[in-house]
C-alpha cells in the first residue's frame, strides 16, 4: 500500500467477513477497503463470490460474521433508518439493469426520487430526463419500456436509476457483460467520466480485462475465499500467485494491455 492510499478517506471498510451457503464457505476472513473517489475493480474466477460480496455490502445477503462499514455507519447492525434520512448512500446497477418492466425508463429513474418529500413532479421528470441523457441515452428512450430496449441501453437505463439520488458510492455488477466491444468501450468511458465528474466511488465487479485496464484505479483479486491482493494494474502483473499470474498474463490479458497502450493513451491525458 502506498503512502497516498493511506492518506485517503475510506468509504467502505470490510473486516473479517464470512459468507457461507450450507456447508460451502464462499468468503472467509475477507478484508477490503474502498477509498473515496476511486474505481475499484473486483475480479475472480467464476463462483468465487464477487457478486455475493457486492450483495453483502448493499445488505441483500447477510453474512455469517464480519463487519461492513459504509461512510462510517455499520450497515449490518444499524437500526432502521429514519424516514427523513432519504439521502441514498449508494446506487446499484444490476447485471441486466433490473429495471421495473411495467414502468417506462423515465418512470424507473423517477422511482428513487419519489422518496424525496416535496419534490415537484415536473422537476422530478426533468431531472430523470437529465439522468437519462447523462448516461448517453437519447431523450426519446425515456418513454420506452425496458423490453423495447437493447441490452446495452437497458444497462445504461439501470445506471441512470442507480444515479438518480446522486449517491456517493456506485456498485456495478458486470457492467460490460453481454455488450459488443464498441458498446463495452463506450460504457467503460461513460463510467470513468461519470465517476470523475460526479466524484463517485465505484465498486465494479467484472470479468472484462479491457474494463479493468480502461477504467479501474485499483484492482482487488478474490481467490481462496478472501481478497488475495489489491493494487494497480502494474502491481497485479508482478503478483506470483498462480491464478493471478494466469489471469493477468494470459493471452487475453496481454491483448487487452497492448490495446490500452496503443489506443487509450490519448484519452488518459
Amino acid at each position: 500500500m502506498t503512502m497516498a492510499e493511506q492518506d485517503r478517506e475510506i468509504v467502505i471498510s470490510i473486516r473479517g467477513l464470512r459468507n457461507q451457503f450450507g456447508s460451502q464457505v464462499v468468503h472467509e476472513d475477507l478484508d477490503l477497503d474502498i477509498y473515496r473517489g476511486e474505481i475499484l475493480g473486483v475480479v475472480g474466477g467464476s463462483g468465487t463470490g464477487k457478486s455475493v460480496l457486492l450483495r453483502t455490502i448493499v445488505g441483500l445477503n447477510p453474512p455469517v460474521t464480519g463487519s461492513v462499514t459504509v461512510l462510517g455507519d455499520d450497515v449490518l447492525n444499524e437500526p432502521e433508518r429514519p424516514d427523513d434520512d432519504v439521502e441514498a448512500r449508494w446506487g446499484v446497477m444490476f447485471q441486466d439493469g433490473a429495471l421495473f418492466s411495467s414502468l417506462t425508463v423515465r418512470e424507473n429513474v423517477e422511482v428513487p426520487m419519489r422518496t424525496i418529500e416535496g419534490l415537484d413532479p415536473g422537476i422530478r421528470r426533468a431531472l430523470a430526463d437529465l439522468k437519462i441523457s447523462m448516461v448517453g441515452l437519447p431523450y426519446l428512450a425515456g418513454g420506452k419500456y425496458p423490453s423495447e430496449l437493447s441490452g446495452g441501453m437497458r444497462k445504461r437505463a439501470g445506471l441512470a436509476r442507480a444515479l438518480a439520488l446522486d449517491p456517493p458510492i456506485l456498485f456495478l455488477d458486470e457492467p460490460t457483460a453481454g455488450l459488443d466491444p464498441i458498446g463495452a468501450t463506450e460504457f467503460d468511458i461513460l463510467i470513468r467520466s461519470l465517476s470523475r465528474s460526479l466524484g463517485l466511488s465505484v465498486f465494479l465487479v467484472t470479468h472484462d480485462l479491457d474494463t479493468l485496464h480502461a477504467t479501474c484505479d485499483r484492482i482487488a483479486v478474490i481467490a481462496d475465499r478472501k481478497v488475495l491482493v489489491t493494487g494497480t494494474m502494474q502491481e497485479m502483473l508482478r503478483v506470483e500467485h498462480p491464478w493471478v499470474h494466469e489471469y493477468f498474463h494470459g493471452p487475453r490479458a496481454r491483448a487487452a494491455l497492448d490495446t490500452k497502450e496503443a489506443v487509450n493513451r490519448p484519452t488518459e491525458a
Partner: protein
C-alpha cells in the same frame, strides 16, 4: 449538518442580479431553488456565488443550468463564481448532458389514425384465429406422423401430461361438480316446491349437469389449470431459447411439446367430465334427499326413467373439442412468448382468457347445433 431550507440571497442592483447560495443544495432543496430561480428577472446579467455551498448535487446543477438557458435566451450575461472543483465539473457535465426536449412532439391522433388502429385490430384478430387454425393443423399432422412412425412418439411424456392435466385435476373438478349439484338441487327445490313439482328437480339436475354444466365447468377449470401451465412451460422454454436449440438439433417442437400435451387433454377431459357428471348427480341427489325427502332409490329410478341417455352423449361429445381448443390455445400462446419475462406473464393470462372464452363460444355453437337437429 444544516437540514433546513436552502439559504438563497438575491441582491438585485441596477446593472446585475447577484444570487448568493449558502448551505446544502441537493434533491430535497431543488424545488425551492428552482422556484426562486424562476422569479429572477431576465433584463440584466446574473451572477451566482457558490462559495458558501457545502453540498451541491446534480439537481442543483440542473436548476442553475436551466436558469442559464433562460438568461442566455434573453441575451444577458450569466456567470458563476466561487464554485469548487466538484461543483464546477458537475455544472460542466450537466450543461453538456441537458436533454434536447424539443425533438419530441407526438402528433395528436387523427380520425384516419383511429380508423387505421381499428383496422389493424380487426386484421390482428383474424390473423390470430388463422394462426390457431394453423396450430390445430400442425397438431393433426404431427399426430398422424406419430401414428405412422410410432418410434417418434413420446409415450412417457403423454403419461406424464395425463397425470398433470387429468389425475391431479380430479379433486378440484369433483368438489366443484359436487357443489354445483348441491346448488342446483337447492335452487330447483325452492322454485319447484311452489308448484308441488318437487320431483322434477331430478330432471333439472340430470339434464343441466349431463348436457351442459358438468363438461362446461370442467373445461373452464381445466382451461385455467392447464392452458396456463402449457403456456408457462412452453413460453419459458421459448424465452431461454430451448425451442431454438431443439430445432437446431433437428427435433420438432410440435411433436415433442404439443402432441403429448394436447393428446393428454383430449384423453383426460372426457374422463374428467364423466367424473364431474357423477359427482354433480351425487351432490344433487344428496341435497334432494335432505331438502326434498327424495330418497336415493327414488332419485335413481327417476333418473334412469326420466333422463334420456342422449343428454349424456350431448355432453360428452363436446369434451374432446373443448380439449383441443384448450390445448391449441395454450401451446400457441406459449410460442408467442418473447425473450422477456413480462411477455411470459402476459401470454399466460391471455391464454387462460382466450381458452375460456373460446370454450364458451364453442359450447354456444354446440347448443344451437343440437337444437337444430333436435337432440
Amino acid at each position: 449538518m444544516d437540514n433546513g431550507l436552502p439559504d438563497i440571497e438575491i441582491t438585485p442592483t441596477e446593472t446585475e442580479v447577484t444570487v448568493t447560495l449558502r448551505g446544502q443544495f441537493a434533491l430535497p432543496q431543488v424545488t425551492e431553488l428552482a422556484a426562486r430561480m424562476q422569479t429572477l428577472p431576465v433584463d440584466r446579467p446574473v451572477r451566482i456565488d457558490l462559495s458558501g455551498v457545502t453540498r451541491f448535487d446534480t439537481s442543483a446543477a440542473w436548476a442553475l443550468t436551466t436558469l442559464h438557458t433562460r438568461i442566455a435566451a434573453a441575451g444577458q450575461g450569466f456567470e458563476i463564481v466561487g464554485a469548487g472543483e466538484g461543483p464546477a465539473s458537475l455544472l460542466k457535465t450537466v450543461a453538456e448532458a441537458m436533454p434536447d426536449t424539443t425533438e419530441a412532439t407526438v402528433p395528436p391522433l387523427t380520425l384516419v389514425d383511429r380508423l387505421a388502429q381499428l383496422g389493424e385490430a380487426v386484421a390482428g384478430s383474424t390473423r390470430f384465429v388463422l394462426a390457431l387454425t394453423g396450430y390445430f393443423g400442425l397438431f393433426l399432422a404431427r399426430l398422424g406422423r406419430s401414428i405412422r412412425h410410432p418410434g417418434e412418439f413420446r409415450f412417457t411424456a403423454l403419461v406424464h401430461h395425463c397425470e398433470e392435466v387429468g389425475l391431479k385435476a380430479v379433486p378440484i373438478v369433483s368438489l366443484m361438480a359436487f357443489l354445483i349439484g348441491v346448488v342446483l338441487a337447492f335452487q330447483g327445490s325452492t322454485q319447484l316446491r311452489q308448484f308441488g313439482a318437487e320431483v322434477f328437480v331430478v330432471d333439472l339436475i340430470a339434464i343441466s349437469i349431463l348436457r351442459e354444466l358438468g363438461i362446461l365447468l370442467t373445461s373452464i377449470i381445466v382451461a385455467g389449470r392447464s392452458a396456463s401451465a402449457f403456456t408457462a412451460a412452453i413460453g419459458s422454454m421459448k424465452m431461454r431459447e430451448e425451442i431454438d436449440a431443439m430445432r437446431s438439433l433437428g427435433l420438432d417442437p410440435a411433436t415433442i411439446l404439443f402432441v403429448p400435451r394436447i393428446l393428454a387433454l383430449v384423453i383426460m377431459l372426457p374422463i374428467l367430465g364423466l367424473i364431474a357428471n357423477i359427482m354433480g348427480l351425487l351432490g344433487g341427489g344428496i341435497m334432494a334427499w335432505i331438502d326434498l325427502d327424495i330418497s336415493p332409490a327414488m332419485f335413481t329410478t327417476r333418473l334412469v326413467n326420466g333422463t334420456d341417455v342422449s343428454h349424456l352423449m350431448v355432453g360428452m361429445v363436446k369434451a374432446p373439442v373443448f380439449a383441443l381448443i384448450i390445448g391449441v390455445v395454450g401451446c400457441h400462446a406459449g410460442m408467442q412468448v418473447k425473450s422477456n419475462a413480462e411477455s411470459l406473464g402476459r401470454m399466460t393470462s391471455a391464454s387462460v382468457v382466450t381458452a375460456i372464452f373460446a370454450v364458451i363460444v364453442a359450447d354456444a355453437l354446440f347448443s344451437i347445433f343440437f337444437a337444430r337437429i333436435g337432440i
